[in-house]
Subunit: 161 residues, 2 copies
DNA sequence: GGCAATTGCTTCAGGCCTCAAGGAAAGTCT
DNA sequence: AGACTTTCCTTGAGGCCTGAAGCAATTGCC
């Protein structure tokens, strides 16, 4: 009986990691597709744009592109394009630093600031809606335990520097 | 003292959903970037391709593109391109149904089958490695609780049909 | 000072992704 | 049968994404 329990647990426990990974992936895919759709419909924005703007929102003086790149986990080349498009429609402003002419700093325009505030408010509401059926206690535990997964993953990347 | 506890809990509890969402997003982004890098380096494949092949692997007779699309949560238009590229390098085979000439069925070639088996084995090992520092009991609980999040989100999409 | 290495951004090719519009086959209705 | 609708896939425009190569400014070393 003990043996059976152990055995069935071993069976059950098999590939837990893989199952969890697939579920994490499916869940975030599902949710971000929904967020994407709504951002697009109601604000004409994309998720990466929203993410980038969120970083700039809390830094009144703006951020250099490299910093933006690492905070949003997006490659340098990609940030260039994102910033270009956002500058084109007047949401952000880009300027070179006079003391180091290699670096470019991006910051929100006034228009961009109000624009983002509207989006952020809606965005938070959508997330709360989607997680409405999950108990607060579960949310709290998830926050901590997903944190553990992240930490663990972080320590097992190819070339950690 | 009770009041304080409640009050601080309310403070703490504020925006739990948003925080959890951001953490989920960051975690899967981190992990999938790593998986992507390794798939590319060691197999010259991409994550969406791997995902698509995984679906075909368990269906010996292949799948119609529409079915593939919904299983991989990828739009129809996108599946077309993915399948085209995979067929071009001989991993899968695409053929029209004789009885209904609208539908296309994709299935693994023999070469594709062995190719995928190698990838799948490595992929599972990578995932286990990355989650190595998370206790089995936590994994099990996460599996269930992330499932709750997914269910909740699923019930709060825009146009549910 | 002069030159090599580094840093910060941009460019490019190839692939992923979505939405919207389109075309062709099959099913439906009169 | 002929026309309408639905189903299944493809096409195309626009944007995201990565890795690699390139260019310019700055730093460090002799």
């Amino acid at each position: 009986m003990d043996l059976e329990l152990v055995a069935s647990d071993a069976q059950e426990g098999k590939k837990q990691e893989l199952k969890l990974w697939l579920r994490l992936l499916a869940t975030t895919k599902l949710m971000s597709q929904e967020i994407r759709r709504r951002l697009r419909r109601e604000f004409g924005a994309t998720l990466p744009q929203f993410d980038l703007l969120a970083q700039l929102y809390r830094e009144k003086d703006g951020l250099r592109l490299g910093e933006l790149s690492s905070r949003t986990m997006v490659t340098n080349g990609n940030v260039t394009g994102l910033v270009e498009r956002l500058e084109a429609d007047g949401t952000i402003i880009r300027e070179r630093l006079p003391d180091d002419k290699r670096v470019t700093v991006a910051r929100l325009s006034d228009k961009g600031r109000t624009y983002f505030e509207g989006m952020a408010e809606a965005h938070e509401r959508w997330i709360r809606e989607m997680m409405a059926e999950v108990e607060p206690a579960v949310l709290t535990r998830l926050l901590a335990e997903v944190g553990q997964v992240k930490e663990s993953a972080q320590r097992h990347l190819s070339e950690e520097d």
